[in-house]
Amino acid sequence: MMKRSDTLAASSFLGPATCVVMLVLIAPLVLLARYSLNRFDPTELMIEATTGANYARFFSEAFYWEVMRTTIQVALLVTALCLLLGLPLAWRLSRMTSRWKSPLLLLIILPLFVSSTVRTVGWMILFAKSGVMDTTAATLFGRHIDLMFTPTAVVIGTLSVNLPFMVLTLQTVFDGIDHRLSEAASGLGAPPARAFLRIIWPLALPGVGIAAILCFILGMNAYATPVLLGGPRFQMMAPLLFWEFNTNSNWPFSAALAFILMGTTLLLTTLANTVIPRRYRA
């Protein structure tokens, strides 16, 4: 138990930060939750009420189901691809000992801090009509490729945004595994691939699971990539929410969408968490 003076000191250290989160995150979310129960009228906009209609509307209309399905599909696909592409790179990076390791890591971290809008610009250049890919394909194969405003473009764009994050997280997971374990395995006669599958992979699995979940969450919440690469007809949850708010001024429904998005993500990640075996914890 803490002394009185310590309690006082601890509260003065931690008080301001707690207040910021309370006032700028919790209070707004509580109000938003309240608003999600209000009614919406096209002329009077928001009308005070206590109704589950906004939630019911989401779950009863096929269009919204479809948007949610697309969102989950994109997030899942992106996570799977991120794992596939991220694992080899993360593994290589983690086992690297040369002086290139830290500049390389820095290079991979860099995109993480460039906004997704800016990073999407590059893909727009690649995918656009008469862009790099289109022109190259036309010259080489005499065929045009127009990926702009397709789900493929969104998946690739989101993949590109999330991949550095995945690589970095996986790299720390691998770094946490004693490299002498793989040496021990190879000393006992295991070729590299078998040493990885038998020893490293089971040990990395919990961390890989966490990385995948974080990547999935990022995919669920993506905004800029679907808007810029998916075009107006392609809908995912975050853009839908902003559209309901900005274009339709339907606050109650966008509030409900916010909670449905957070709730679904939470539900799916909890589900995934229970699936990841915990017995491997060292």
């Binding site: 601890a10 590109s160 690589v167």
Partner: protein, 277 residues
């Protein structure tokens, strides 16, 4: 020595190596191709994306100031203010979490880091509706003001400051503080002369992180910018809604370079890979 002594990888091993290399190449392409293309496009001497271009020019960079100057300035002001405020709030929180062991400490630390896990789009919407609610009930105008934007940015910057301060203190020996106290330093003096200097790398890292996080934010800004006041990220998004041209690529390049420089600076103080976990 016979030829059999020389190690030859089996066919399977070679195929595995090949697949690995392919995945590595794809992975690097997915990360770096857009950045490289952005650099490339920014030098096109074309009004739109036409590939290959008829020539190259750096003229686009000189137009950034006219088209995006105001937005860059707004973003900078918000970021600097948000960094200062989140340091002011986050550093003590970091010290507090490191120094005191109390019931609910883990819960509090999760709570303080929670802004990192709520989707930006939900944070933006929620803060906006609260701002309107406050305006309706008190008459104080918050929505569309720079103050509110800064406050919202403090919310998303502060967790990074807390996190990096904690990381910076993880190797800190509490005994040095005890030594200072036994040598006659009062508690405030101990913090000022021993704890804060020990945290310096963490604080610098936190500040740079916070700056980048604020500067690059899009989702929260979408809800909180007022007509006529744009942050860079929103301006770029709106611009991209109508056209992709070398100018927007040039803006992107400037951002990449600024962020790159900040990271290089940061790398001298902390191992970033460790910090972002």
């Amino acid at each position: 020595m016979s030829a059999a002594d020389i190690y030859r990888p089996s066919l399977g091993e070679r195929a595995g190596e090949g697949a690995m290399t392919l995945l590595l190449v794809l992975s690097c392409a997915a990360i770096f191709l857009p950045l490289i293309l952005t650099f490339y496009l920014s030098a096109f001497d074309e009004q739109m994306i036409v590939f290959p271009p008829r020539g190259y020019t750096l003229a686009w960079y000189s137009q950034i100031q006219a088209k995006f100057g105001a937005a860059i300035w707004t973003s900078l002001r918000i970021a600097l203010a948000a960094v200062a405020l989140s340091l002011l709030v986050g550093i003590p929180a970091g010290i507090g979490l490191q120094r005191y062991r109390f019931r609910g400490r883990d819960a509090l630390s999760t709570f303080l880091l929670s802004p990192l896990t709520v989707p930006g789009i939900a944070i933006g919407l929620a803060i906006y509706v609260l701002a309107i609610w406050v305006e309706e009930n008190t008459g104080v105008t918050l929505a569309g003001s720079l103050r509110l934007l800064i406050l919202a940015h403090v919310l998303i910057c502060m967790p990074w400051v807390v996190r990096l301060c904690l990381a910076g203190l993880s190797n800190h020996e509490r005994t040095t503080e005890e030594a200072a106290a036994s040598l006659g330093a009062n508690p405030l003096m101990v913090i000022w002369r021993v704890t804060l200097p020990a945290m310096r790398p963490g604080i610098i890292a936190g500040a740079l992180f916070a700056f980048i996080i604020s500067f690059e934010n899009l989702e929260i800004n979408l809800f909180l910018v007022a007509p006529g006041m744009n942050t860079l990220s929103v301006a770029v998004l709106q611009y991209l809604g109508y056209h992709i041209d070398p100018l927007v690529a040039a803006v992107a390049v400037v951002q990449i370079v600024v962020v790159g420089a900040a990271l290089m600076l940061l790398d001298r103080f902390v191992r970033i890979g460790q910090a972002i976990r």
